[in-house]
């Protein structure tokens, strides 16, 4: 499972980087979105990969009043990834607005605001 996750993050990130380096704003924003997916997945797996383990402590999970940490997934990366998703989404949305504004003002969707001379 580790290999699958690692490869998928790598593919997402790699495609994202390639798109960000393209000259059109639409490609750039698509690239940013792909990178943000990759990064979110990356944060998520930093709490290690678990199967069938809840991130919350349940009443019947207590052993002598203490928590057996081995039974639970790490909740912190899950909380972090939630924040990261929200912030990444908001800033990317903001970029979308700027991108549309730029298209309207300069009449081109080139990142430099003018077509490169061919």
């Amino acid at each position: 499972m580790e290999a699958v996750i690692a490869i998928s993050i790598g593919v997402l990130f790699g495609s994202g980087v390639w798109l960000v380096l393209r000259p059109r704003t639409f490609q750039v924003i698509t690239g940013l979105l792909l990178i943000s997916y990759a990064v979110n997945l990356f944060i998520f797996i930093m709490g290690r990969l678990w199967l069938d383990r809840p991130p919350l402590t349940l009443e019947d999970g207590l052993v002598d009043g203490l928590v057996d940490a081995g039974l639970y997934a790490d909740p912190l990366p899950q909380a972090l990834v939630l924040t990261a998703i929200v912030i990444g989404f908001a800033t990317t949305a903001l970029y979308l607005v700027v991108m549309i504004g730029s298209r309207g003002l300069t009449g081109t969707d080139h990142v430099d605001g003018k077509e490169s001379s061919k």
Partner: protein, 538 residues
Amino acid sequence: MSLPWMQHLILAPVLLPLLCGALLVLISERHHERKFLIDLVGVLGLLVVSLVLVHLSDSEHWPGGVGVYLAANWAAPFGIVLLVDRLTAVMLLLSSGLALASLVFAMTRWSRIGVHFHSLFQFLLMGINGAFLTNDLFNLFVFFEVMLAASYGLVLHGYNSMRIRAGMQYIVINLVASFFFLIGVALIYAAAGTLNMADLAGRVSGLDADELVLLKLGMTVLALAFLTKSAMWPLGFWLPTTYAAASPPVAAMMVLMTKIGVYVVLRLWLLVFSDGAAAGFGFDALLWGGLATLAFGTIGLLASQDSGRMAGYAAVISSGTLLAVVGYGQPSLIGVALFYLIGSTLAVAAFLLLIELIERIRTPSAAMLALTMEAFAVEDAPDEPVGVAIPGALAFLGLAFAGCALVITGLPPLSGFIAKFGLFHALLNPGPGEALGRITWVLLTLVVLSGLAGIISLMRFGVRTFWAAKDVTPPRLQLTEVAPISLLLLLCVLLTVQAGPAMDYLERSAEALHRSEAYVERVLSEPVVSRIIEGDRP
């Protein structure tokens, strides 16, 4: 038992701008005087709070001069910790002073050419102050994003095609840098299992070899994000363009934003890598990166004709000097470096405000404003500003320009000279038994050369503007435009006159930075406020 109210002051630099900003969103743009007043009250409040914090952190009020605020009363490694020590307090003071100047400058013109200037300004302050205060890496990310989101809005403020082009590149670069920030944070968490900076520093020595590699990797990726903000070569090509395009009050605030990168590197690196298992990691990279930045800024400054870009390259030079000095890794240098940071921030900010006034000599018909209005269809264009115009406009512009130039290039008698002199003195006296390396001479030469480039470039600009121009029409200057620049320059003068006490204070802050063990101990031992639960009461 409850917390003494003084303790809540630590939270005030974040809370106050948040509340003011939220309030300002609700008020219509038509009431710009009212909006300005609220904004001003918020900034003045911040100034008072930061003065109190500077005083408290240097008195015996908190043990070791470190005030710790446990958010939501969670004990240290589990909850988010806000922290004030001397360095934080000084940076807060710098940010509120600079904010006051920018805000007053923006009053007559710039805050009226678009919407929500004042709210964004307050949110920017919230982000900046939060980044100074926090002791938690993920919380730092959140405050960085608050700051950046506000700065995206402010860079685009007064929407024209030049700004939107520069703004778009600025946003993409910072978005990518933020993703790197997240990757770095995730790697550090994977390695050390904590995001609290103090806890992280305490755990470094207990990590095994694999985890240490992961931690170093994480810190490197994280540093990429900060170094993009502080425009280290080759991550800083966005800076001159963005500075030249942004409206002057915003550009002045952005000078401070480049210093935040330096601040975080300083704090984090000295905390985690000053001693212990991974001592000295990355200092060389900072040093060489700083030197490259210094060289890049010097060449850029010599090459640029446009005044906005000149200011941008001056900021790059100041970043480069600071990074190189931090990377040099000599404890006695840090205090002077902080002195340099304050002086150069004030001077570059003053210069950025000043060049807009100087441009009016060249284009008396306020072409700048026309340029701004070209795209942004403001319903009621701001009237020709009413206010007190000051006499002797040209004399003021000339003197203020000379003052900025003196501080930026480091010529006597202003604070720039003291800072550079202190740097050279500390570099050439490395302490007993240590020889001067070749790298010392490279650093010294580059700093001197950058000063020389500054002199040539600024003199060329000054001569061309004030002496060689054919018909100089004295521009009409408002009191609210002159006062902020005077304030910033007066602060530089004050820093010169009171160099002794200021330097002592900064030396103490630098010394505290190097006692990472005491810092870790202090943060982790902060007691939570005990709650009295009904049933427990005797």
